[in-house]
């Protein structure tokens, strides 16, 4: 034990620029024995007590040799409930969704080696979607470290590029500090995942260092934006002919949807979003046109493509959203983001504002004198014509698909979504997998309350949906949670279905079952001369029987009315259900679609729909 202490490297150095003491008080609730003597306790117990005092109430994971001291400490922690998953990937996706709902980091516990490496996809997913979580991996004991011990993996080396911060703790005295640091770092500024790797002997060691200080803290980006930048941005917006507001996921984290809407209403500017940004603005607002990009709405593509000034808030300008950067660079772009490295990363910006979205938008609203608004309203009636044109594109598209709904038998995927939308309450949390069902959701699922749509947008992780639904239900047990998944995506993590009955998590799971990796097949049809290979399942399992095997009601409906009836019953009885929606895998093609590398105006519309996405004035 003494050797461990001698070998220990202090992770944190007080007094450095990167250190900030956060006034959490005594996270352990105890400092000594009351007589001036410090009490030494097992580091694993100190860790669990720190979790409790920081407000952790749920943890997700799977035990194993190296992490067992933490599980042993959890044995006595009545305030912390552990959810045993069937695979670590499920646990971390659940923690990811939990973090998105609660705005507090989800906590994951895994053992060393395969336990830790099974987190990799989940960490990358959370990193790409800026989702807060803290993963704690057990590690082999320090004397074995680096000697290829049983279940040893250099998980720190593996996860450098996919974590906001990772660290290996080498001393029992650093365990509490490391966790507290990770907990804070994961939500500060731009959220992200943190991994803390702790060797078994460190967890078993004794520590008197139970105070959660010092801390490494993200630098203070995103303070008050400068007035000069705000005024410059406003001048551009006021003088624009066709301003458009592009909403990204940062708006949701910042809680800035009201400010976005107020600004849009004052400016008469249409709102479009990224895919995650769809979750950040009420989709039924008249100025919201939908997501733009690869599987965006035609009217949103047209809006962004024809805008002369774009106010982009909390977005990283993914190629998936804008298609091609060349044309975007010809517009005047005002970019607000809390992460300075996002400004100018993919597109050239006229005004770059490093700030929290809400702070920046509030400043814009403050600086927008009403006199200017009135003057501009008189001068810019042209904006109304632009919006009317965009709405006309929407009308044509909606009428066209409605007229052709009968061609997609037995169900048109988008129409299933409309049925589900009118059946479940607005507060229902929806999670998705990845694939064509997700793209149908991007096009046709209306988010009424921001923060209720959880999807793997950046990494595009098939299998995300089911564990995310479980994590969402754990985070918000009083709200309905519905999973909309594809058969391919669902089968990647469906082993976690057992948690539905293990822990009483009544989710509604809707499977869009086309017996194919349909979105990949769509690319094969359109981009690889219909050379369809390795995307069609010869035989799927019977999902109704799968449901029954897990003690869940399963249905295979034959009409839209039956879908509605099943969902209403599940909501009324608060019982879980799996609904297998059979789709025609020749007709289940998600259109409109902007092919990779194409500009937005080149969107492929549904067959038979003729629409020009270039504004002629």
């Amino acid at each position: 034990m003494i050797k461990i202490f001698q070998l220990s490297v202090k992770l944190f150095k007080p007094g450095k620029q990167c250190i900030l003491v956060i006034p959490f008080g005594d996270a352990l609730g105890t400092r000594g024995d009351g007589h001036g003597n410090s009490i030494k306790i097992r580091a694993a117990d100190a860790l669990v007590r720190a979790m409790k005092n920081l407000g952790v109430r749920h943890v997700f994971g799977i035990p194993g040799g190296s992490i067992m001291p933490v599980y042993d400490a959890l044995y006595d922690a009545e305030d912390i409930k552990h959810y045993l998953f069937k695979h670590e990937q499920g646990a971390i996706h659940a923690a990811d969704a939990y973090g998105r709902i609660t705005k507090k980091p989800g906590v994951v516990l895994v053992t060393s080696g395969p336990g830790a490496t099974n987190l990799v996809t989940g960490l990358a997913n959370a990193y790409m979607d800026s989702s807060p979580l803290v993963a704690i991996s057990g590690q082999v004991a320090t004397p074995i470290l680096g000697r290829d011990g049983f279940q040893e993996t250099d998980i720190i080396g593996v996860t450098f590029p996919i974590t906001k911060l990772n660290m290996q703790v080498r001393s029992p005295d650093d365990v509490v500090s490391a966790f507290t640091t990770g907990y804070i770092v994961s939500t500060e500024g731009r959220p992200g995942p943190v991994l803390i790797d702790i060797p078994r002997d460190v967890l078993l060691g004794s520590t008197g260092s139970i105070e959660p200080v010092p801390k490494i803290h993200p630098k203070a980006f995103g303070g008050e934006p400068s007035r000069e930048e705000i005024l410059k941005a406003l001048r551009l917006l006021l003088n624009a002919e066709r301003p458009v507001i592009l909403v990204g996921g940062g708006v949701c984290w910042s809680g800035a949807w009201d400010d976005v809407i107020t600004l849009a209403e004052i400016l008469w500017a249409p709102i479009v979003s990224t895919f995650p940004g769809k979750n950040c603005v009420p989709n039924d607002h008249p100025l919201y046109l939908g997501p733009s990009g690869m599987h965006g709405r035609l009217e949103a593509d047209a809006a962004l493509a024809n805008a002369d000034v774009v106010l982009a808030v909390g977005t990283r300008f993914s190629d998936r959203t804008v298609g091609r950067f060349k044309e975007m660079n010809m517009k005047a772009i005002i970019h607000i983001d809390i992460d300075p490295s996002e400004i100018g990363k993919n597109v050239r910006t006229e005004v770059g504002i490093v700030s929290d979205a809400k702070k920046a938008l509030k400043a814009m609203l403050r600086e927008l004198p009403s006199a200017i608004q009135e003057e501009y309203n008189r001068q810019h009636s042209g904006r109304r014509s632009f919006i009317a044109w965009l709405k006309e594109i929407r009308r044509k598209y909606e009428e066209h698909i409605e007229a052709r709904a009968g061609d997609m038998k037995p169900f048109a995927p988008w129409k299933v979504l409309k049925v589900l939308r009118r059946t479940v309450p607005p507060s229902t949390i929806v999670t998705t997998g990845v694939g064509s069902h997700q793209m149908w959701c991007e096009l046709h699922w209306d988010v009424y309350i921001p923060g209720t749509f959880i999807t793997s947008a950046g990494l595009g992780t098939m299998g995300f949906g089911l564990p995310a639904a479980l994590g969402a239900k754990i985070a918000a047990s009083n709200r309905p949670v519905m999973l909309i998944d594809g058969d391919g995506s669902f089968q990647m993590t469906m082993n976690n279905l057992s948690l539905v009955r293990d822990y009483g998590l009544p989710i509604i799971a809707v499977i869009f079952d086309n017996r194919a990796l349909m979105l990949v097949k769509q690319w094969q049809i359109y981009m690889y001369s219909r050379r369809v290979i390795a995307t069609e399942f010869t035989k799927n399992p019977d999902f109704v029987k799968i449901a029954e095997a897990y003690g869940i009601e399963g249905y295979r409906p034959s009409s839209y009315e039956e879908i509605e009836s099943i969902v209403r019953r599940a909501l009324r009885t608060d019982e879980p259900v799996i609904i297998d929606i059979e789709l025609d895998n020749e007709k289940d093609i998600v259109l409109p679609w902007v092919k990779p590398g194409e500009w937005l105006t080149n969107a492929v519309p549904p067959e038979g729909l003729e629409v020009d996405l270039i504004w002629k004035g």
């Binding site: 202090k10 944190f12 620029q17 450098f160 906001k164 911060l165 803290h217 630098k219 300075p340 100018g344």
Partner: protein, 75 residues
């Protein structure tokens, strides 16, 4: 153009790995990297790169947002 990026950080070898992972993804040619480790995890990293100004500036910002980086200078 050639530039020297000087980085100060506080988590020793881990900071070095994080900075290298960031630089590796930039569209620059790395000509030289050297580092000096102090006590308690302090580390100074000097990277000489060749590339476009905008790309070097993006790298500066990308390194700056790393949690354990305390300073970044481009010379």
């Amino acid at each position: 153009m050639e530039r020297v990026i000087k980085v100060g950080a506080c988590m020793g070898m881990d900071s070095l790995a994080r900075v290298i992972n960031t630089i590796r993804r930039g569209k620059v040619q790395v000509l030289e990297i050297s580092s000096k480790l102090g006590s308690n995890g302090d580390i100074n990293i000097v990277i000489r790169v060749r590339g476009e100004e905008s790309e070097i500036e993006w790298l500066r910002k990308k390194i700056l947002v790393l949690v354990d980086v305390t300073s970044v200078e481009v010379l």
